[in-house]
């Protein structure tokens, strides 16, 4: 029997809706579960105390602080390097030169390298190679490398979206290339660059594998420093979960809420910037 068109269309819509439901429900179940477990433990102790063998007084303060430090360092490293690379590739590089093409292919491929590989790289070159040791700075640096391709790609797209007529207008007024780039192209590209950087940041601070590899420690009871040993929120969650007492599972759930709150705030901020500065040329 032949299906009528309306039926086919309806069926297709149904399939699409179901697919959407899979993603949505997973998220809801996850959130409900986490909030159910974690909410009672989401208190000042979690935010202000170091971890402890006693679940009643244990918190995640060092990990939360370290995640904030890592995030700040990550941004401070990745934005200038990523934007500078993007400017070079879009505005200065002669695309017919082989080394520029090589660079481009390289960056595209780097974006697809698994994060654990970055961890190995960090261990070999940063921790041992230049002897930085298993410190927070090394963690921030390795996460920088990890998200750098994402930032470069986002910044390039933002720069490319600036219409050429703007550059021409600048040149026609006697601006130098640097003046055109710094005063016209970059300001116009900032919303796109900011959005891309924030999304990269939230990917970076959610990472666990590379940090474990370069030796983020699971039990740290003091506030982290840039050049000291550290742990990070995802690792802290993992180590809570491995402890035998049931309360630690709930503490882990509470820590997950904190991590989610940080990530969702960052993403909301990115969306806000994108909408606020959306431009029609």
């Amino acid at each position: 029997m032949r299906m009528s068109r309306a039926l086919k269309g309806g069926l297709f819509k149904g399939v699409l809706f179901l697919s959407l439901l899979v993603g949505f429900l997973t998220l809801v179940v996850l959130l409900v579960d986490v909030f159910n477990d974690g909410l009672p433990f989401l208190d000042r102790t979690l935010l202000t105390s170091p971890p402890s063998g006693d679940p009643d007084i244990a918190g995640a303060r060092p990990a939360i602080l370290a995640t904030i430090y890592i995030g700040a360092l990550l941004l401070a490293f990745v934005v200038p390097i990523g934007v500078a690379t993007a400017i070079y590739l879009e505005e200065y590089a002669n695309k017919t030169r082989w080394y520029n093409r090589l660079l481009e292919i390289n960056i595209q491929n780097l974006a697809a390298v698994p994060s654990i590989v970055y961890g190995i790289l960090g261990l070999a070159f940063l921790v041992r190679g230049i002897g930085l040791g298993r410190v927070l700075l090394a963690g921030a640096m390795i996460l920088t490398l990890l998200v750098l391709p994402t930032v470069i790609i986002a910044a390039r797209e933002a720069i490319r979206a600036v219409p050429d007529s703007i550059r021409q207008g600048g040149y026609a007024l006697g601006a130098t290339q640097w003046q055109v780039v710094s005063r016209q192209v970059l300001p116009a590209a900032i919303p796109g660059i900011a959005t891309g950087s924030i999304l990269a940041l939230s990917r970076g601070i959610g990472e666990t594998a590379p940090l474990i590899l370069i030796g983020a420690v699971t039990y740290i009871s003091f506030d982290p420093t840039i050049l000291g040993p550290f742990t990070a929120l995802p690792i802290q969650i993992y180590s809570f979960l491995r402890l035998p007492q049931a309360e630690f599972k709930l503490l882990a759930a509470a820590s997950i809420i904190v991590l989610l709150a940080i990530l969702l705030t960052l993403n909301a901020f990115a969306i806000f910037i994108r909408n606020r500065y959306r431009r029609s040329w």
């Binding site: 207008g169 600048g170 026609a172 007024l173 006697g174 601006a175 431009r279």
Partner: protein
């Protein structure tokens, strides 16, 4: 206009033709110029002189290289990697393409207004101030901005909203803003590539009136598709056409005729010009 009979282009042109142009100073002398994009020659064998305090119009069918040609005067073609300019462009007797000439310096003296208004995504004030700022002309910036807007006949419309985005202006206002932006750096010459083609008739008239005003202080070169416009504003007119190679292959722009506008529109010397201005071609 009060006449019932529509005026011919020749009459329009003669209406503002100055009786006898005194010996005009030559601003640009173009000698045997050719521009190629990679191996495609867009325009070749062009020689003409552009005079001070006059409006010079370039007309001709699409693709004959008018934009390519006008971009030679401020070295905008340098920004197209494949473009190669040969021949000479002398500006007040000096070769614009000499090795020691800095194209950035050239563009400070010779401003350009584009076909599509291209305001920067900044405030009206910052748009005008951009040029002076990059040139380091920082004192009396607001006076400069005001005077540029005055001369571009835009001041009254925007004086209360200088801090607002220039993207909120109408198309015609945006184009006058671009003219003001260009005036703010006090250029010697203003190049305009079809400045009114994206505008409504009223805005177009305003821009044309403006050109009459501006030519007292500046030298103006304009590309236009609109022959009425050329007849109305230009003192000198150059007609370009496309030369198709005998085998029907390569198309190259050439200069057919260059003369006083009144002459071009009443008694052109070349048959091709006559066909074009009377609408029999292109």
């Amino acid at each position: 206009m009060s006449s019932i009979e529509p005026m011919t282009l020749g009459q329009i042109a003669q209406e503002h033709d100055e009786v006898e142009t005194p010996k005009r100073e030559v601003v640009f002398a173009v000698e045997d110029l050719a521009v190629a994009y990679a191996s495609n020659v867009a325009i070749r064998e062009v020689s003409l002189e552009v005079y001070k305090n006059a409006v010079t119009a370039f007309i001709g069918p699409s693709g004959c290289g008018k934009s390519t040609f006008i971009r030679c005067f401020n070295r905008m073609n340098d920004l197209v990697p494949s473009a190669k300019v040969t021949g000479n462009v002398l500006y007040h007797g000096k070769d614009l393409y000499a090795d020691e000439v800095d194209p950035v310096e050239v563009r400070r003296r010779i401003g350009m207004v584009f076909q599509k208004p291209n305001p920067f995504p900044k405030s009206i004030y910052d748009n005008i101030a951009f040029g002076p700022r990059v040139l380091g002309l920082k004192d009396n910036l607001s006076d400069r901005v005001e005077s540029a807007l005055q001369r571009a006949a835009l001041w009254d419309e925007v004086k209360d909203r200088l801090k607002e985005s220039a993207l909120g202006l109408s198309g015609g206002q945006q184009q006058r803003l671009c003219i003001a932006r260009c005036l703010a750096v006090e250029p010697d010459v203003i190049l305009m590539d079809e400045p009114a083609s994206a505008l409504d008739p009223i805005s177009t008239t305003r821009i044309e009136d403006l050109m009459h005003e501006l030519k007292r202080e500046y030298t103006i070169v304009i590309v236009t598709h609109n022959m009425q416009q050329a007849a109305r504003v230009a003192d000198m007119t150059a007609f370009f056409s496309v030369d198709v190679a005998p085998d029907g292959g390569k198309r190259t722009g050439i200069l057919v005729e260059y003369d006083r506008t009144s002459k071009i529109f009443t008694t052109p010397a070349d048959k091709r010009t006559e066909d074009y201005v009377t609408g029999r071609f292109g």
